[in-house]
Symmetry: C2
Subunit: 461 residues, 2 copies
């Protein structure tokens, strides 16, 4: 009889072809022009789940982009129920001219890597779980545990409707374990398991000055320039060491325990090696009292994700005094910071520093809380064993600097263990041009997940 | 016999049709995509000059956009020679969505106003002189003075090759008087004559951080954000009153004499009235020790004309830590500031404040010196009389905040009186969406100029 492992080995080609079909749908959740594409990706997944043998698959509406829900609950009441989370929406592909391929949504395979927007985040990683389900169903006619699938279309816009969704469908979503693949593995030789995620408060600041773009000769010196004002406001939010000077910003930040600092030590060494091999900036930067791993995992940030004002064509000159300026300002948050409170603190800060020569608005575009999951839970130990079998090394635990809102939301609502089975590599360029997913990690992810689900089946329901 | 005045009155319709043909050529000098359009505009003007009866008209090359030169020197050696300057290039039309018409280069006439990019700056104003020449030639078969026409295609990019051009063609350009129409008149009831212009030092600052756009979760807190750095650099260049804190910036600024302050007094009152009637910003701003007219005419600025970094789609969120950031930084200069010295001061300032976590480049895109012309010259008195005849009020003298590089260049090289016959109105939206030229001012400009040239013919050669 063929095992799930053997089935997967024999079917990597069709698996990848199917994944490429999904990737070709440009499901960019933040761009209104792709609204129908987002829905097409949801429809594709629903159909695919039915083909795989899920007993139920449906599109559930939210205020914006739909959720795909599917389930197979035939493992029986003595087996645990695993809620598998993923997201089918992707980041915008811009700037297009920095991609090596013509079309970020037409996947290219090179050196056993799949290049495309969404390849690793999260279509490729999420697809691992679908293909593991298929491998069991096709060889054993059943799956080791009961499974519920929740694949959302708003992760890249802060899962803004997921809170309401989880509340509304609380009964449907009951489970014993939450599993997801939307994080990184560190390296093949020295894998990690992520146990902490930062939260997010994503805002857009608009500063408005004159009623229209003005001639900088005719008005320069008598009308306050909004581009200058927005620079002043941004500069006022931090000191030169990177410490954020917004009143109250750090009030609720929990310090790391000595124990946790110890646990993070392998990650600190791994980080130093990785940075030396592949420094992505002229030098490291940040709060001097914390090492890079602590800064990423346990310290909040205030980041400028975008700036726009006036005339910006490279090499061109236009002597304009712009009518307005815009900045995307986002904060990565750590326990116990609250995104709404942080938004209010930002507003209060701008209120204090903005001059009366302009008007301004601050809009909240996304919010989610940080989360830390239990590294000692039994499902987590099953995951540790599975990684060790496939990678030959026991994984170490790391806090990630990223944000996956669902972890905090489900953690709070369902109060069950969460396991993040990450298979992304540090050079996957997620959110950047030339995003890719290592097909080796796709294969190893499937192997690991087969062992993981088999292991879970031995836990109590 | 028909007079030039009568001829002009009978021919305003064809005059405007011809001007509209010229405006339809999108001669945007700063945008490489319009390079051929710029040349087409030059060709159109050369042909038009020949049709009007100029004895010579030619295209003279520069390193980038050509100059149109034409002449008619049949007035005789006892008449003065006037070099008439204008420019046929225009500002970029962006942002397109703020224009009330679909196409900024398809002129629309509304309420006796011609709306289009270049309508007032400078195609419409420059065209006045061509139509005055035509009106004399068609009625008297001659022009009251010898005339040389220099119409350039690089004014909106700082007349970057005009310096070399004037040197190269020094013999061709000898003259007794320089006249141009590229400034404003203030108001129909209370006209002004501009006697001072600011200079310009236009730069582009690029700050580069990480090798590519990064995920703000994966790197936020350990990699310095170039958008934040560029905001810090900009903020470091001024204090909260608008005073520029770049070392040495004000060292060469000449103070206004008491006499000049007195001369500017009518302009101060006019400005207050205009601002009250049409405030274009929430409130006035700038150095408290100078009134708005002094700030515009006699004080330098440091202005942010554009800002760009990362992801800027309004309402969207992308959690990117941008690889680079760009700012257009330009300074309006006053006598005796030197644009190259100011560029060096800016570089030295950035050198001092930029952190080692980024690299940066500052490019000089445009430079010109400020200029002040003699208000007591005989040609200026002829202009004052011409304005008084047409507008019924004696014009007052004002320093403009804008920059017309040719005035400084010709002033220095030829050492002859310069007269700026401006007919733009304050609400002409030059450099902004919905630029327009008042057709009443087009007609009054022609009337004034006919009287002006007649008056000049009585001056010695």
């Amino acid at each position: 009889m063929t095992t799930p492992h053997e089935y997967a080995q024999q079917h990597y080609d069709p698996f990848i072809q199917q994944l490429m079909d999904l990737i070709r749908i440009p499901s960019v959740s933040t761009q209104p022009k792709h609204k129908e594409d987002v829905r097409r990706a949801a429809e594709w997944l629903k159909e695919h789940c039915l083909q795989l043998g899920m007993t139920r698959a449906e599109i559930l509406e939210t205020e914006l982009h739909p959720v795909v829900y599917a389930e197979w609950l035939e493992a029986g009441p003595d087996k645990p129920t695993v809620l598998v989370y993923g997201h089918y929406d992707v980041q915008p592909p811009e700037p297009l001219d920095l991609w090596e391929q013509d079309d970020p949504f037409e996947p290219v395979i090179r050196d056993d890597k799949l290049f495309a927007r969404g390849a690793t985040d999260d279509k490729g990683q999420m697809f691992i779980h679908l293909k593991v389900f298929e491998s069991f169903m096709q060889t054993q006619g059943s799956f080791p545990v009961n499974v519920k699938l929740l694949i959302e279309g708003e992760e890249e816009i802060g899962s803004r409707n997921l809170d309401t969704f989880i509340e509304h469908y609380a009964d449907k979503l009951t489970c014993d374990i939450v599993a997801l693949s939307d994080t990184g593995i560190g390296s093949v030789n020295d894998p990690i398991l992520v146990y902490g995620l930062r939260g997010l408060c994503y805002t857009e600041l608009e500063v408005k000055g004159p009623v229209r773009d003005l001639h900088s000769g005719a008005y320069g010196g008598i009308v306050h320039n909004p581009a200058q004002v927005i620079a002043d406001i941004i500069a006022s939010m931090h000191d030169e060491t990177g410490f954020i000077t917004v009143d109250g910003f750090y009030d609720k930040v929990l310090p790391l325990s000595e124990e946790e600092k110890q646990m993070l030590q392998p990650a600190v060494e791994r980080f130093a090696t990785e940075w030396e091999a592949n420094p992505v900036a002229p030098q490291l930067w940040g709060e001097p009292d914390f090492n890079p791993v602590e800064r990423l995992g346990a310290r909040p940030t205030l980041e400028i994700n975008g700036l726009y004002s006036g005339y910006t064509e490279r090499g061109g000159q236009k002597t304009v005094l712009p009518a307005w300026a815009l900045a995307k300002i986002s904060c990565r948050l750590v326990p116990d910071q609250d995104p709404l409170e942080i938004f209010d603190l930002l507003k209060a800060h701008i209120e204090k520093v903005a001059p009366p020569t302009v008007t301004w608005e601050l809009h909240l575009l996304g919010k989610s809380k940080a989360s830390v999951v239990d590294t000692q839970s039994r499902p987590m130990q099953v995951a540790v064993d599975a990684y060790e079998k496939v990678f030959g090394v026991r994984p170490s635990f790391v806090r990630s600097g990223g944000t996956i809102p669902v972890v905090g939301l489900l953690g709070n609502k369902l109060n069950v263990p969460v396991v993040m089975l990450g298979f992304g590599l540090p050079d996957d360029n997620l959110h950047s041009p030339n995003e890719k997913f290592s097909l080796e990690m796709f294969r190893k992810g499937i192997e690991t997940s087969i062992i993981f689900y088999e292991g879970l089946s031995e836990l109590p329901a």
